[in-house]
Symmetry: C2
Subunit: 355 residues, 2 copies
C-alpha cells in the first residue's frame, strides 16, 4: 500500500459497482436502471436558459426539490433532505447516527454498500442473518443498540418485509434510529412513509434512480423527523454543502411532479416483471417473489456465475454476487422493456438447450 495513505484509508474495502461499459452496446440488465427515459417534463425543465445559468452555484438547501418531495408525500419541507444519489444520503446516515458508542446492524444479505460504509466510518457492524428463505425477522435486531439499516424491498433478493415487521422494531426502542432504504419501494407496496407521523426514530431513504428514470442525474433523498434531517444536514454541511447540482435539482423537481408518467413507467415495469418471472419459471428457474424492478433467480441447470458469463458473451449483462455463499447460485436481473426481457428469456432458453 502507498506510503502516502493513512492506515484508516489503507484498511478500506471499497465497493464494486456494477459494470458500466462505456463503449459497447449491451442489453444492460445489471444495475436496475429504468428502461424508460426521464419524464418529458424533465426535458422541459432542463432548458437552454437553465443550462446557460450553470455559472451560478446551486441552492445548497435544494429548496425547490425538497418542497416538491414534501408535497408529494404530504410531509413538511424540514422533513426532507436531498443528496447526490441515495448512496450519499445513506453514507451521511451512517456518519450521523452511528459512532464509537453505537454501531450499525444490517442483514447478511442486503445492499453490499452497508458493509463498506460501516468500515469507512470505523463502526462496529452487527451482521444479522436473514432466515433460510431470505425473509426478515426483526426480532433478531432487538436487544442491541445499533442503528439499523434495512433495505425494503431488499437487494439483491427483491423481497419485501412482512407488514408489521419494521413497525415492531421502531416500537421496541424509540431511542434507536431505523433507516429504511426504500430505493425499490415504488415497485411494491408497504412503504414506511406513513409511519413517519408516528415514529421520530424512522428515516426513509429514497432515490430518483429507479422509478423516476434519473440514475444518471444522481438524486436521492430522505424523509424523516426534523431532528433526523437536521442531523443529516450537520454531516452534509461538514462534508460538501453544494452536493446537488443545478440541473439535477430541476430534473428531480420536474420528475417528482409528473405523477402520471411515473405511474405509467412503474406499471410497465411491474407488468414486465410478471411476464419475466413466469417465463423464467417455465424455464425451470427459481424466482424469488420480487417487489422491486429486478428478479433474483437461480436454475439447477446452470450455476449463477456461469449464467452471468454466458449471457455476457451474448451481449446481455446481469449481476452475479460470489458472496455470501448462499446467494452464489443466483443472478440478479433488472426488469427492462419487453423487448429486452424477451431477448433475455430467448437467450437463456438457447443456453439451456446447449446452444
Amino acid at each position: 500500500m502507498s506510503r502516502f495513505l493513512s492506515a484508516e484509508t489503507a484498511a478500506l474495502e471499497p465497493y464494486t459497482p456494477g459494470e458500466q461499459p462505456q463503449n459497447l452496446r449491451y442489453n444492460k440488465l445489471n444495475t436496475n436502471e429504468s428502461p424508460f427515459p426521464p419524464s418529458p417534463r424533465v426535458l422541459e425543465a432542463l432548458s437552454r436558459e437553465e443550462i446557460g445559468r450553470l455559472n451560478l452555484y446551486s441552492d445548497p438547501a435544494c429548496t425547490a426539490l425538497c418542497a416538491a418531495i414534501a408535497r408529494h408525500y404530504g410531509v413538511e419541507d424540514r422533513q426532507v433532505i436531498a443528496g447526490n444519489g441515495s448512496d450519499e444520503i445513506l453514507s451521511f446516515a451512517f456518519r450521523a447516527f452511528c459512532g464509537a458508542d453505537r454501531g450499525a446492524a444490517f442483514a447478511d444479505i442486503t445492499y453490499g454498500f452497508y458493509r463498506v460504509w460501516a468500515r469507512y466510518y470505523g463502526l462496529r457492524a452487527r451482521i444479522v442473518p436473514l432466515r433460510e428463505d431470505f425473509s426478515l425477522r426483526t426480532e433478531d435486531y432487538m436487544g442491541g443498540n445499533e442503528t439499523v439499516f434495512l433495505a425494503n424491498p431488499n437487494a439483491p433478493t427483491g423481497m419485501a418485509a412482512a407488514p408489521g415487521e419494521i413497525r415492531r422494531l421502531l416500537e421496541a426502542d424509540r431511542d434507536r434510529v431505523v433507516v429504511v432504504d426504500e430505493a425499490y419501494m415504488d415497485f411494491g407496496t408497504g412503504s414506511c412513509v406513513p409511519l413517519l407521523a408516528e415514529f421520530d426514530n424512522l428515516l426513509v431513504v429514497r432515490t430518483f434512480s429507479k422509478s423516476r428514470s434519473l440514475a444518471g442525474g444522481r438524486v436521492g433523498y430522505a424523509l424523516g423527523g426534523p431532528e433526523l434531517i437536521a442531523g443529516l444536514n450537520r454531516v452534509k454541511y461538514s462534508f460538501n454543502p453544494y452536493n446537488v447540482n443545478r440541473l439535477s435539482i430541476l430534473a428531480g423537481t420536474a420528475a417528482m411532479e409528473d405523477e402520471a408518467y411515473f405511474r405509467r413507467c412503474v406499471d410497465a415495469v411491474c407488468a414486465n416483471r410478471s411476464w419475466t418471472a413466469a417465463r423464467l419459471k417455465e424455464l425451470g428457474f427459481t424466482v424469488l417473489p420480487s417487489s422491486a424492478n429486478f428478479v433474483f433467480v437461480k436454475s439447477d441447470a446452470i450455476p449463477g456465475g456461469e449464467l452471468y458469463r454466458r449471457l455476457k458473451e451474448r451481449g446481455i449483462l446481469v449481476r452475479h454476487f460470489d458472496t455470501p455463499e448462499r446467494i452464489a447460485d443466483f443472478c440478479r436481473i433488472t426488469i427492462g422493456s419487453m423487448e429486452q426481457m424477451k431477448e433475455l428469456a430467448d437467450t437463456i432458453e438457447l443456453l439451456l438447450n446447449g446452444q
Copy 2:
C-alpha cells in the same frame, strides 16, 4: 442536541456557505462565480438526446472527463480524479492522506472549510499563521509530519505564494503529501502542475466552478501521481462511486475543450479586476494584490461588517468574515462583469459620501 446523533456528529462545526438567495435579484459578488455563462460547447453537449439518457447511470470513473483534463494538462489519465465539486475532492484528500498518525496543517487565514474537514475526520489540526502581510512562509510547516493543505492563490486574500515556496516544502519531506488547492489559479500565474513531473507527494486540486463557469454543475478534479489518485479513489469507492452525474461529466468535458472561450473569460475577469482594484484604491481602500477572481479590501472609513451590511441593503452581496480578527476589517468582493463592478464602485462611493 438530538438523542439520535452520535457524539462525533454532535461535535461537528459545519461550514457556512456564502448566501445563495433564491428569489431576490442581487448584484451577487459573494461566492466567486463567473459572470459569464458556460461555453457554447457546454450547451451543445447537453443535448436533448443526452438529457433523454438520464435513466442510465453515469460512468463512475468519469473516463471521458478525466481524459479531457489529462489532455489539457499533458498528464496521464490515471493522474486525474473528478468529483462533485472540488470540495468533495478536498474532503477525500483529508480522509485519504490524514488519520490518527498524521494530522493536517493549514494556514490561520485560508479556505474556511479546511478546519471543518479536519474536525469532520477527527484529525489533529495544526494552524500555521500567515505572516503579518498575509504572505505564506513554508518554513513554518516544516518539522511536522502533517499533510499540508495550501490554497494558492489563497482565499480569502487572493494572494499567491512566492515562486519556490511550495517547491521547498515538497522537497523538504518527500514522504509527506502537500495538497495545493488551485481553485483560483487560472486568474494568476505559478501553478504547481509542472511540479507533478518531479514530485509524487504533490496533489493539485482544481475546479470548474470559477474560470470554467460551471459552479452550478459541481465538477472539481485533482491531478497527482497515480499513487495519490488511487488513494483518493479508495475513498471515493468507499463513499459514493457515482459521484459525478452524466450531464456534469459532459459539461466539464466540453468546457475543458473550449480553450478559446476559457481564455476570453479569464482575460475579461483579470481586466475587470485591474479596473476594480484601481477604482477602490482611488476611494481610499487597501486592496491586497489578487491573483484570483476576487479582491480582498478594507477601508479606514467603514468597517468590513458595516460595508457588507450597507451594500446588501443596496442590493449588492459581498462576503465578510468575522474571524480571524485580523481579517474582520476586510470584505471579499467577487470580480464580475464591468457593469457589476461599476455599480459596486459607484455604490461604495455614495456610501463613503454619506448617502
